[in-house]
């Protein structure tokens, strides 16, 4: 517990950037994260993301009820759980789009709850996020989409941006599609472009919101492999929210199962496969009955019949 507080006292070394006028916030700008902060963090062995007793509620409805977990560099972590179990909320909390009602969310040593908007934006430049359906900018070409974060946050010369973008696109196998518009892409291609965009600034942390939703088996396999490769190449930490048990268990290093706002099971893929926890068993084997009920909570049917009779 001492380590995080120390880190909070020492803000991340920010590169005194080439002045970048394009952003609206007046925060000290940073270049795409270079190797310096990365190495210092790996030395301190501080987890990139740490959640401590995090609670969150939309008004009266409690979504998360005390969640703890940590993700380290180089790790690819999957968060699994049924629909409405609070997985996506968890991702939003880590991305700073939502704020925890209680507990602490720490990303790269900084407490998200205590950050100003500009500091949050500075932190987000070191995060990448892949949205459920890619969320590509429909009015820009594939090239411009991937170039977007580079153009917004750096003052790099035109040629350098072009080379960087083509490199990223090459990594996802779509260098030839650079001139296409997002409307001309298939679902799987759009997801890969979005992936290239998410890692354009070589982020420290990549968040994936249902990266496999709506993909055919081939695209799904390709996307899965890419996520793994990019994570290893960047040395980043990756968090993936997904339903897809089969593919994820082959890819990830660690799995958290979320149900009803708490983490009910955790472990490496081997442990998960071998687990005899009833919840995990139901989820992994896609069974209709188990701890996750088929029925939405309701008064027993018998009582209804009694009412009708009365």
């Amino acid at each position: 517990m001492i380590v995080p507080s120390m880190c909070a006292g020492h803000p991340q070394p920010m590169n005194q950037a080439i002045s970048n006028e394009p952003t609206a916030n007046e925060s000290p700008s940073s270049e795409p994260p270079s190797n310096e902060p990365i190495s210092s963090e790996s030395i301190s062995n501080e987890p990139v993301v740490r959640l401590e007793q995090v609670r969150f509620a939309y008004g009266e409805r409690e979504i998360l009820r005390g969640v703890d977990f940590a993700v380290h560099r180089g790790q690819l972590v999957a968060i699994m759980g049924g629909s409405g179990s609070g997985k996506t909320t968890l991702l939003r909390l880590i991305g700073g789009q939502l704020h925890a009602n209680a507990g602490k969310v720490t990303v790269a040593g900084q407490d998200l709850g205590a950050l100003s908007t500009s500091a949050l934006y500075a932190l987000r430049r070191r995060m990448g996020m892949l949205f459920q359906f890619g969320a590509l900018f429909t009015d820009m070409s594939v090239f411009d989409n991937v170039a977007f974060p580079l153009r917004e946050h750096t003052d790099l010369p035109f040629e350098l941006i072009r080379d960087l973008v083509l490199m990223k696109l090459h990594a996802v196998g779509l260098r030839g599609a650079a001139a296409l518009m997002p409307s001309e892409l298939s679902g799987g291609m759009a997801r890969r472009v979005a992936l290239a965009r998410a890692v354009a600034l070589d982020p420290l942390l990549v968040l994936y919101d249902e990266p496999f939703a709506g993909l055919d088996p081939i695209s799904l396999g390709v996307t899965g492999q890419l996520i793994r490769q990019l994570n290893d190449a960047l040395g980043a930490a990756s968090i993936m929210v997904t339903h897809d048990v089969r593919v994820s268990l082959e890819l990830v290093d660690y799995v958290y199962f979320v149900s009803d706002g708490v983490i009910v099971a955790r472990g490496t893929p081997e442990e998960i496969r071998a687990s005899d926890d009833p919840f995990v068993h139901q989820f992994v084997h896609a069974e209709a009955h188990g701890p996750v009920p088929f029925h939405y909570p309701a008064p027993p049917l018998a009582s209804l019949l009694d009412e009708v009779a009365a």
Binding site: A24, R125, F137, T138
Partner: protein, 263 residues
Amino acid sequence: MNALLELLRKIGAMTIDGVWRLGFIARFFCVVLRYSGQSFRRLPLTIREIYFSGVLSLLIILVSGLFVGMVLGLQGYDILQRFGSIDALGIMVALSLLRELGPVVAGLLFASRAGSAVTAEIGLMKTTEQLQAMDMMAVNPIARVVAPRFWGGVISMPLLAALFSAMGILGGWLIGVVAIGVDDGAFWSQMRASVDFRYDVLNGIIKSFVFGMAVSLIAVFEGYDCQPTAEGVSRAITRTVVSSALVILALDFVLTSFMFRGL
């Protein structure tokens, strides 16, 4: 009795909702202004939006202006010739266009052509999580998406209204002078004698500027505020057009009563 209470309750809810929305839109306006610096520092962003709201509205504005002016020419001739003062046709066409029809009709057309397009675009960006994605990339969507569209509209609108009025006067001239045969010299000289630059032309421009602000604000607000579903976007577009029209007409009354009180 119960029905009455229910009615009162509904009126109360509507009032509270309306006031809340008004406050929200005012706050939104302040935020847009706060993040407007970028729209001017990165001019290409705003220029692009001027293209979409201004240049693409050009055709409908020019054609409608011409027709409105031609109708004014015909109707004006019909009325004025009863009083034997057809020489005043130029005055009538010019004053009604400059003071009222130019800003108001151009504003209404602008709301339905450009305003609805802006709402649809922003609403769609919200629905497809593009705004959120931008936010996650540490780019403020208000500064990057909303403010340039707002200023593009604000800049386009007075120019469109001026074009509308100019086309209308031309249309009135075509009908009055070329087709009907009102004296060309009388048409222009009477017009020039009675149309005052500061009182008529400038006030019309001020009106169109205010309408441009109002319509652009409503359009970006409705887009940004819409429910992120297909249905939500379509409802937001309807709301943009309807509330723009109401706001334009209401503001027109207020502005007119301030500007032309002494006349």
